[in-house]
Amino acid sequence: MYDLLLAPFVDYAFMQRALGGSLLLSLGACPIGVFLMLRRMSLTGDAMAHAILPGAAAGFLLYGLQIVPMAIGGLVAGALVALGAGLVSQLTVQKEDASMAAFYLISLALGVLIVSLRGSSVDLMHVLFGTVLALNDEALALIGGITCLSLGFLAIFWRALVAESMDPLFLRSVSRLGAPVHFLFLGLVVLNLVGGFQALGTLLSVGLMMLPAAAARFWTVRVGPMCALSVAIGFAACACGLLLSYHAALPSGPSIILSAGAVYLASVLAGPRGVLRSRVQRHRHRVA
């Protein structure tokens, strides 16, 4: 049992780093994912993950496989796409889903173009799928900083974020915080994706954000516990995924995301608001 569960983390520093980095990432990204989901922006997260690619690629082109330039580049690209899509939807009749799709597709194509200008397909694989087993101190510090920012934002703006997500028109009638909170939130989505892409890659970093959130939705009807539960699911997925990758010699990023995916599917089936409970118990009901 010890060999199976603890030994890999005790014996190998790279496993400790991978675990520490991914747990830190879950702590910030999962609650952000819950709000993305509740605001019906789950696919926006996916779009943003693609949108940061050209920035990361530009950083890669100039400095090689270095975390800081790639993170800054990704952040700039993500912010540009989020801002552009947000502005188009605020200033024109086009809704945010369409403008976001337009901007991220432009961004993604640009990103692939830039990566292919230099480097091998191995490099492209690194950028797209990440290397959680090679997290260095810089990467860990970056993830830690992003997590602190995310938790700080949630602690301060919790009430506004809940109101903005639940009844935006009401918030607008009592406060001017709606728009700033929306943009700060989008900024944090981008930050968390940037934090995740060193570990999980640009394509999969959104997985750790959305899957635990989507799974937690089936277990509770309150947003606070939902966030806490999503973090717990994220933790479990990271630990399971890393162990799976260690013992079965599988790539670590996909293992983590697939572990979260397994929790999601189990939740769909067995959660109190999932398929089985809401179907099977139909024939018994209370009189009031």
């Binding site: 809940v162 009401f170 309150r222």
Partner: protein, 265 residues
């Protein structure tokens, strides 16, 4: 009762360049209860948005008495009913004007929320998720939130739509209570019998104001005919509304020339 709560000064509200509320001037007295009546598209909801401050005027202004707070219950609520929240969480949103972003919700605040839920007949519903409420129950919960807001002016946009008689009666009792407390209430309503029975004042809108005064006079047959005759459609070739000489609205004082012109339809 002679203190004004709201003053409309030549207020024009609209979308794009088309006016939906056209040159409305007048005063809403503090503590008054006014029904706003008119056909679909006559500008009732637009006026509510203008007073609530979620829509900026194209011309003119809405002046609120200093320190007056507004609670706004929109017709098309943007409330996401699938959001994971309980009835008590929804009503507690009404604490925002008092507690804002970071203020602690005290025991007294929680008691006020519980009392509001009782007042709207939702005792025992506090822990229910909002996605399990019926339409009438949700409307009661939204009234509870407005109650918690403790506002001086209440704007209720078609609160009785698709609401059963019992709930309507309860909500009307609540509106009377608000008025008794000296609050100013404006209600958009379609049911003219209900308006005649419960509302002392009526503003009859047909883009522009047709009549504004005691309900019996505003809803006279002549006024109703005038209101029915109005043309709801927007016309791209509608005349631009130009300031007339001698007319006391002066668009040249507006900070931006862009927003000055608007079509009369």
């Amino acid at each position: 009762m002679s203190e004004p709560a709201l003053i409309f000064r030549d207020l024009t509200l609209g979308y794009g360049s088309h006016a939906a509320v056209h040159h409305l001037s007048g005063t809403v007295e503090r503590g008054s209860l006014t029904a706003i009546v008119g056909a679909n598209g006559s500008g009732k909801s637009t006026l509510m948005k203008g007073i609530a401050g979620v829509l900026k005027p194209m011309a003119g202004s809405v002046d609120r008495r200093a320190g007056c707070t507004v609670a706004y219950l929109p017709q098309q609520s943007e409330l996401d009913r699938t959001f994971p929240a309980r009835v008590v969480d929804l009503a507690a949103m009404g604490l925002w004007p008092k507690r804002g972003l970071l203020g602690r919700h005290t025991a007294a605040d929680r008691a006020a929320v519980a009392e509001a839920l009782t007042a709207v007949g939702l005792q025992g519903f506090a822990e229910r998720p909002i996605d399990t409420l019926s339409g009438g129950q949700l409307q009661r919960a939204l009234f509870a939130r407005a109650l918690v807001q403790d506002a001086d002016i209440l704007l209720l946009d078609e609160p009785f739509n698709a609401i059963d008689q019992q709930t309507t009666a309860d909500l009307l009792a609540l509106i009377r209570r608000w008025r008794g407390e000296g609050r100013t209430v404006l209600v958009v309503a379609h049911d003219l019998d209900l308006v005649r029975r419960h509302f002392p004042l009526t503003l009859l809108l047909a883009r522009g104001p047709v009549a504004w005064g005691p309900t019996q006079e505003s809803l006279s047959p002549a006024n109703m005919r005038k209101a029915r005759g109005f043309d709801e459609a927007w016309h791209d070739d509608a005349a631009w509304c130009e300031p007339e000489t001698g007319h006391d609205h002066d668009h040249s004082h507006a900070p931006s020339g862009l927003q000055d012109g608007h079509r009369a339809a």
